[in-house]
Amino acid sequence: MEITQINWDSTLLVVAFGISMVFLILVLLVFIIKIFGLFFAPIVLVKKPKKKSRADNIPLQAVEEYEESHLTASCSAAIAMALHLYYDEDVHDIEKAIVTIKKVEKRYSPWSSKIYGLTNLVK
């Protein structure tokens, strides 16, 4: 088939419609997930440190305040690493406690020969 024989109108229509539909469906999902996130996203509340007035050292507010907080990446990484090490019991190396002495074959070499040792010359 030659390029001129291809029905470019319908081909371009498929491309345009296809890309548009993919974006349309996924954009719709973005909005829906965002809406659900508003209702179901967990809110992590951390107790605010109490502020004390400098003058009389008395708390400014009697009621405890909370603030929304998320762990930083470094904190998450440290906690994950600690849990991994704890559950995998990789904290310490476990040694076999079996000692084996391997027999090593000593090949003859004039470099290690006792005959040619320097101590033989001292008499």
């Binding site: 081909t11 491309v15 993919v22 469906i25 996924l26 999902l29 997930i33 930083t72």
Partner: protein
């Protein structure tokens, strides 16, 4: 010593080939023998008859071996399957799928073995009438591909192994997943220009989704005769994601953009994770019923994982079922790569279009991330856009590695997982759209 062994081996192979060729010639000569020759044979002595019978039997035996029936195409295909086996075993290129695919390819190209008979699936239909008489082992297993069973079962397993948490925490990732599907449609355009039919072009384009099961599912529906080359291209390029993507990522981003640090993702509640697969299935299936099979299976697996009440089922689909189906899928997809269907000029075109699809998909995600940065307050590192081309989790890892080249303290992996899993949804949606428009 080794040289001697090699020489002996070569001599052995040559002797087998020469014997085979001689046997074939004799067989041909026998076919054209005249009646006079037959008469002469009848008048020969009993001893000679016995010798002739032995020689004939031997020739008959040699002629019935695969060597006598093989042509150069057979050996080329066996050589290609050996290369794929080498890539899977030695280079670790997607070995879980490439190894069964390559072995299926090897089996199907063995002459006279009759493991796979392409004529039973000729014309895009299953010829049930001849199935019982002619059907080989791989024909029966191939029914799972032909009927679209294996890709869907794989999708259940993929869903059970996927954590959509990063996507739920940052829904904008879905846009990057959508942009990365650009490669599918650009390739569709390119393949149409090369003279492929719309159905074939759509099957080639889906390689850009970088999603093996989706590619196989769509191709088995639209262009089953191209299943072998397309599956091999899809899985080969998926394995080559760490090679293909980084140059494009560096080319399209500045050092400053690559160093952008993104805000830590928020925590996602269990309720959100349970509701997500249900909502996505309902919305996508209502809008695009043709994508319901793939999306439904993906989300079923994910619901099994997240609900926490079917732990046994979740583990089964993630491990045993996934492994069994992977073996069947790989071996049967490889079996479709017969010399008649594979050694065509169009296979090279498919391979070429496949890499174009991957490149445009990668570029699409990065460019959209850059465009998003013009409008949003919290900047997005454009490197995570490239992860929109499915290939979970390889593409996300590539984003992480390229990001750390610029800033070793920048951890992009979890941010990249959002577009990465969005790419799985995006490619399934794109497959549904193409299926809807081509059938």
């Amino acid at each position: 010593m080794n040289t001697k062994k090699h020489i002996l081996f070569l001599i052995g192979v040559l002797v087998i080939f020469m014997g085979t060729a001689y046997a074939s010639q004799l067989k041909t000569a026998n076919t054209y023998s005249t009646e006079n020759e037959v008469l002469l044979e009848q008048t020969s002595t009993s001893t000679a008859t016995t010798e002739n019978t032995f020689v004939e039997n031997f020739i008959e035996f040699i002629s019935s071996t695969g060597f006598a029936q093989a042509d150069w195409k057979t050996f080329v295909m066996i050589f290609i399957s050996c290369i794929l086996l080498y890539l899977a075993i030695q280079k670790n290129f997607e070995p879980l799928l490439l190894l069964p695919i390559a072995f299926g390819m090897l089996l199907t190209n063995i002459p006279l073995a009759g493991l796979f008979n392409a004529e039973l699936f000729a014309g895009g239909h299953i010829n049930w009438g001849n199935f019982v008489q002619k059907g080989g082992l791989l024909d029966y297993l191939y029914l799972g591909v032909k009927l679209g069973i294996y890709p869907c079962l794989i999708f259940v397993g993929v869903g059970a192994m996927t954590d959509f948490g990063p996507l739920i925490a940052n829904p904008k990732s879905l846009l990057l997943g959508a942009a990365a599907q650009l490669g599918i449609f650009i390739t569709f355009l390119g393949a149409s220009g090369l003279g492929f039919t719309p159905s074939e072009a759509a099957s080639i384009g889906i390689i850009g989704g970088a999603d093996g099961p989706t590619s196989i599912f769509l191709t088995s529906k639209l262009a089953p005769h191209l299943l072998g080359p397309i599956a091999i291209a899809a899985y080969s390029y998926m394995a080559l994601v760490p090679v293909i993507q980084p140059p494009i990522m560096r080319l399209l981003t500045t050092k400053k953009e690559r160093a952008i640090r993104m805000k830590q993702l928020r925590t996602v509640s269990k309720k959100e994770k349970i509701l997500f697969p249900i909502i996505v299935t309902v919305i996508v299936s209502f809008l695009l019923p043709s994508a319901a099979t793939l999306i439904g299976c993906l989300m079923l697996g994910n619901l099994m994982r997240e609900c926490g009440v079917v732990e046994r089922l979740s583990k089964t689909v993630q491990n045993e079922m996934m492994n069994i189906v992977t073996i069947f899928l790989g071996i049967t997809v490889g079996a479709t790569a017969t010399s008649e269907s594979f050694l065509q000029s169009q296979t090279l075109s498919i391979m070429l279009m496949g890499i174009i699809a991957f490149s445009f998909g990668t570029a699409g995600g990065i460019i959209l991330a850059k465009i998003m940065n013009l409008f949003v307050k919290e900047k997005v590192n454009p490197l995570i856009g490239s992860a929109g081309v499915s290939a979970v989790p390889m593409a996300a890892r590539v984003s992480q590695v390229v990001g750390q080249e610029t800033d070793p303290g920048n951890f992009l992996l979890m941010h990249a997982m959002g577009p990465n899993v969005a790419g799985v949804i995006g490619s399934a949606v794109a497959a549904g759209i193409l299926l809807n428009m081509m059938t």
